[in-house]
C-alpha cells in the first residue's frame, strides 16, 4: 500500500515537474574537446561522441539508468544465428530533420557505410569480428535484417552507437534523427544545437520532444573557469567534477552538487612486466611475482585514498568492473583487503625479509622502485604520496615521479623505461568487449606488457582464451560466466592493482528539470530530449 502511494506520488511529482518546465529555452554546458568530425560513424573523440549522442537517432538505445536496451527507431528486434543476425521492425512515419522519410533503405545505407573498411569507423570495428561481407535486406519500408559474417557479442547493444544516416536526403550530411541538430559551429569557441522539429518522440501528454529549444556547448578546457561560469549562472551543467571543486560547491550551493555514485572509471597501478624493459633483472623478478604484486596491493589503504584524496566521493576498488556496471560486475569478488601484516607474511613466503626497516629480497637487494604518473594531476600526486607512506610500512622504498604526459606515454608504451605506473582508465561502455584491447595479451593497451606475440604467462593465455570464447557466444549468461573467470584471474594474479572507482560528480543548476543522473556516460544529459528549463524565457548571453 505504502509502495503504491509512493509510486503515485512520484508519478505526480514527475508530471508536475514537466508541467513546471515550459518547453523552450537554451541549455548551456561545455565540452572540453571540440568535435573532430560531425560524421557519427567516425566519432572517436569526446566532442564528436557528444554531438553524435545529442543529434543521432539510433535503432536501439542503452538506457543509462536501468542499463537495459530500450527500443528507439526500431520498435522491435530479434538477434539470432548465434548473434550474427539481427531482424528489426522500424517505427512508421519517422522523418529526418530535413523532413525526408526514414525507412529500411536508410538502415541498409548506414550499415554499408559503417562496414566500409575505407571509412575506418571505430564503431564499425566493433562489428568486424570476422572476414566476409555483411548482408542487409529490407523486407518492407519498415522491416529488415542485417547479417554479419561472424558472431558479434552484444550485437543489439552495439547499435546504441550507430546513428542512422539518410540514404536519399538532398541534405544527407546534416539530416539527423536525434532530438537536436547542428545549427551553428564556431571552431574553437562554441557549438549550437537546435531542436529537431521532426523528432519522433512524444511525452506522456502527447507533447513533442525535446522540451529544450537549443543546447549551447562552449569549448572550455579550464575546470576553474567552468565552475566560475557555473556559479555566475552562465552554465547549467558541469560534468565530471573534481572532488575538491565538488565539495566547495556543496558548501556554497548544496542543491547544485550532485553525486551519482561510483562511475565506470578506475584508478589503477600496474607493474612493468615487459621482458625487454631496460630495468634490473632482480626488479623484473619482483614484478613478475604474483605474491609480490598481491602483497603491494594488500599494503595499500584504499579506504584512506577514498576518504582523503577523493573526500569520500569514491569507492575502493578490487576488480576490473565497477559495481555501477550492474550486469558484468563479479559480486563474488570481495573488497580489496588492507593488511600490512598479511602483506609482510606473503612477502616472507616469497623470500623477502625485513632488515633495519627495509624490505630485502632473496638476492639481498633493498626493495626500492619508482612510481610514475602524469604531472599536474593533483589527485594522482596525492595518491602517490599516500601509497609511498603505506608501502614504507612494509619496508618498501617508493620514489614518486610526476612526468609530463608525452614523456609518460613514451615510457609506458614504447621505451618501457619505468617500473610502476599510476594511471586512470576511462570506461564508456558496459560490455567487456569494449575493453578487450586492455585485457588481451596482444592488445596495444595491455598495460603491463602490451602487444605480445604470444601470451607470456599461462594465466594470460587463459584470459585470452576466455575473452575470445565469450566474444563468439551469443548467450549473455555464458559470456558473463567467462568474464567472471577473467576477473577472478586478474584479481588472483594482480598484474594491475585496482585502487578506486571515482564517483561521477556534477554540478546542476536549479533551473534544469527532469534530470536523472546516471553513472554512465553521458551522465547528466543521457535523457537530453526530456530535459527542460524552469525559466526557458531567460535571455541568452
Amino acid at each position: 500500500m505504502n509502495q503504491t502511494r509512493f509510486f503515485i506520488l512520484s508519478l505526480l511529482a514527475g508530471t508536475l515537474s514537466v508541467f513546471a518546465a515550459e518547453p523552450g529555452g537554451e541549455l548551456r554546458f561545455t565540452m572540453r574537446v571540440e568535435p573532430k568530425t560531425f560524421n557519427p560513424l567516425q566519432a572517436a573523440d569526446e566532442g564528436s561522441e557528444l554531438v553524435r549522442y545529442l543529434t543521432g537517432g539510433v535503432l536501439i538505445r542503452l538506457n543509462r539508468l536501468s542499463q537495459e536496451l530500450d527500443p528507439e527507431l526500431a520498435s522491435r528486434w530479434k538477434v539470432s544465428e548465434g548473434s550474427r543476425r539481427i531482424d528489426f521492425e522500424l517505427r512508421p512515419n519517422i522523418r529526418f530533420s530535413d523532413g525526408t522519410p526514414f525507412s529500411c533503405d536508410d538502415v541498409a545505407f548506414t550499415v554499408k557505410q559503417l562496414m566500409d573498411p575505407s571509412l575506418h569507423s571505430p564503431v564499425g570495428d566493433s562489428f568486424r569480428t570476422g572476414p566476409g561481407e555483411t548482408e542487409t535486406k529490407c523486407v518492407s519500408a519498415v522491416a529488415g535484417m542485417v547479417r554479419f559474417p561472424a558472431p558479434v557479442a552484444s550485437l543489439a547493444a552495439l547499435f546504441d552507437q550507430v546513428a542512422m544516416l539518410s540514404a536519399h536526403s538532398p541534405k544527407r550530411d546534416i539530416a539527423v534523427l536525434g532530438p537536436f541538430q547542428v545549427a551553428e559551429y564556431r571552431a574553437g569557441s562554441s557549438l549550437l544545437l537546435r531542436r529537431n522539429a521532426y523528432y519522433w518522440k512524444r511525452d506522456s501528454q502527447g507533447r513533442q520532444l525535446p522540451y529544450l529549444a537549443a543546447i549551447r556547448l562552449d569549448v572550455q578546457q579550464s575546470r576553474e573557469t567552468e565552475m566560475l561560469r557555473f556559479r555566475r549562472g552562465e552554465l547549467d551543467l558541469v560534468n565530471k567534477l573534481d572532488p575538491e571543486l565538488f565539495d566547495q560547491l556543496a558548501g556554497q550551493m548544496p542543491a547544485a552538487a550532485l553525486d551519482a555514485g561510483p562511475s565506470l572509471d578506475w584508478e589503477i597501478l600496474f607493474f612493468n612486466q615487459v621482458p625487454s624493459a631496460p630495468i634490473e633483472d632482480y626488479k623484473k623478478a619482483w614484478f613478475q611475482s604474483a605474491a609480490f604484486r598481491r602483497a603491494i596491493s594488500e599494503a595499500i589503504n584504499r579506504d584512506d585514498l577514498c576518504r582523503i584524496v577523493y573526500r569520500g566521493h569514491a569507492r575502493s576498488a578490487a576488480a576490473p568492473v565497477s559495481p555501477s556496471n550492474h550486469f558484468w560486475t563479479n559480486k563474488a569478488l570481495g573488497a580489496a583487503e588492507y593488511s600490512t601484516r598479511k602483506a609482510l607474511r606473503r612477502l616472507e613466503q616469497d623470500g623477502f625479509h625485513l632488515a633495519g626497516g627495509n624490505l630485502i629480497d632473496r638476492s639481498r637487494h633493498k626493495v626500492e622502485f619508482s612510481l610514475i604518473t602524469n604531472a599536474g594531476n593533483k589527485l594522482h600526486e596525492r595518491m602517490m604520496s599516500m601509497i609511498q607512506q603505506d608501502l614504507a610500512k612494509i619496508g618498501v622504498h617508493l620514489n614518486v615521479v610526476a612526468l609530463d604526459f608525452p614523456s609518460l606515454a613514451e615510457r609506458i608504451t614504447r621505451s618501457f623505461q619505468y617500473e610502476t605506473c599510476l594511471a586512470a582508465m576511462t570506461n564508456i561502455g558496459l560490455d567487456p568487449n569494449e575493453v578487450m584491447n586492455i585485457w588481451l595479451s596482444s592488445g596495444a593497451n595491455h598495460p603491463w606488457n602490451p602487444s605480445q606475440k604470444a601470451p607470456a604467462t599461462p594465466w594470460e593465455a587463459e584470459i585470452d582464451k576466455l575473452l575470445y570464447a565469450q566474444n563468439r557466444m551469443g548467450e549473455a549468461a555464458k559470456r558473463k560466466a567467462n568474464f567472471d573467470r577473467v576477473q577472478e584471474i586478474i584479481v588472483e594474479q594482480a598484474p594491475v592493482l585496482f585502487l578506486v572507482y571515482p564517483n561521477a560528480l556534477a554540478a546542476v543548476s536549479a533551473r534544469v528539470k527532469n534530470l536523472s543522473p546516471a553513472p554512465l556516460y553521458p551522465q547528466l544529459y543521457w535523457n537530453a530530449d526530456r530535459l527542460a528549463l524552469a525559466e526557458p524565457a531567460r535571455a541568452a548571453r
Binding site: I308, K378, Q388
Partner: protein, 256 residues
C-alpha cells in the same frame, strides 16, 4: 637572515616530520598540536614550511652560484678574446636565451633516472636551473668586461707594461666584482621562482620533500584561497625574501 636561521633550525622548532601523514587530522585548522594546521594529506604545515624554506633557501643560492661562475668565466673569457670569438659568443648566448628553456628543462628533467631520492631530485632540479640559467648574466658580464677593456685606465695600465695576469687580478677582478655580485643576488629569487613554476607542473622537488614551489601548489585553486589563510604563508614568505634580496641589491648601489 631570520627566515634562513629559523629554517636551518627547523628540527628544533618542530618535532613533527615533514612527510608524516596524520590521516585522522586532514586539512586541520591551526591548533596547539599543529600550529599552522595540516595540509590535504594531514601533514604538519609548520614542519613543511620550515623544511621547504630550508630546501629553497639553501639550493637557490647554490644554483645562483653555479650560474654566476659559468657566466663570469665564459663572459669574461670571450670578452677578453674579443673580435670574432666575442661576436660568436654573443650570438650563442642570444640563441640560448631565445630557447624555450622552460620546456627544455621539463624535457631534461623527464630524461633523468626515476629512482632518485627526493633530496637528490632537489639537487638535480636546482643544479639544472644553475646550469641553464647563466646566459643573461654572461651577456651582462661580457659587456662589463668589454667596457673595462676599452677604458682609458686599462689602456694606460697596459701601456705602462703591466702583464696580463696582474691586469686581470688587480684591475679586472675588482672592477667586475660589483657586477658579478649583483648577478648572483638577482639570480637567487629567479631560481626560487623557477623552481616554484616547475613545481606547479609537478616537476620540481620530488615528494615528500617540501619546497616553496610545492607548497605554493596549494594556491592553484581559487577555493584554496578562501579556505585556510595559512596556505598563503609560503607566498608571503617568498615575497618577503625576494624583496629582501632586492633591498640587498640596492644597498651596494646606494653605498657607491
Amino acid at each position: 637572515m631570520l627566515v634562513f636561521g629559523i629554517a636551518l633550525c627547523a628540527n628544533l622548532v618542530t618535532r613533527r616530520p615533514y612527510a608524516e601523514q596524520y590521516r585522522e587530522a586532514v586539512a586541520a585548522r591551526p591548533s596547539a598540536e599543529f600550529p599552522l594546521g595540516t595540509d590535504a594529506l594531514g601533514r604538519d604545515r609548520l614542519s613543511r614550511l620550515l623544511y621547504g624554506t630550508r630546501s629553497s633557501l639553501l639550493l637557490a643560492p647554490a644554483a645562483a652560484f653555479i650560474a654566476t661562475v659559468i657566466a663570469t668565466s665564459l663572459g669574461g673569457f670571450f670578452a677578453f678574446l674579443g673580435g670574432t670569438w666575442e661576436r660568436a659568443f654573443a650570438a650563442f648566448t642570444d640563441a640560448f636565451i631565445s630557447l624555450p628553456w622552460f620546456f627544455v628543462l621539463i624535457t631534461i628533467r623527464a630524461l633523468l633516472p626515476l629512482n632518485v631520492e627526493p633530496v637528490t631530485s632537489a639537487v638535480i632540479t636546482f643544479g639544472l636551473l644553475g646550469l641553464l640559467g647563466w646566459p643573461l648574466s654572461a651577456r651582462i658580464i661580457r659587456a662589463g668586461t668589454r667596457t673595462f677593456l676599452t677604458s682609458d685606465y686599462f689602456l694606460q695600465a697596459r701601456a705602462s707594461g703591466i702583464g696580463t695576469g696582474p691586469l686581470l687580478c688587480k684591475h679586472l677582478g675588482p672592477n667586475l666584482r660589483p657586477l658579478v655580485l649583483a648577478q648572483f643576488w638577482i639570480s637567487i629569487p629567479v631560481f626560487i621562482l623557477s623552481e616554484a613554476n616547475l613545481s606547479l607542473l609537478g616537476l620540481g622537488v620530488a615528494e615528500p620533500l617540501p619546497s616553496w614551489g610545492s607548497l605554493l601548489r596549494e594556491l592553484e585553486s581559487l577555493g584554496a584561497l578562501t579556505g585556510h589563510p595559512v596556505v598563503l604563508l609560503p607566498a608571503v614568505l617568498l615575497v618577503a625574501v625576494v624583496s629582501c634580496f632586492q633591498l640587498l641589491l640596492q644597498y651596494p648601489e646606494e653605498a657607491t
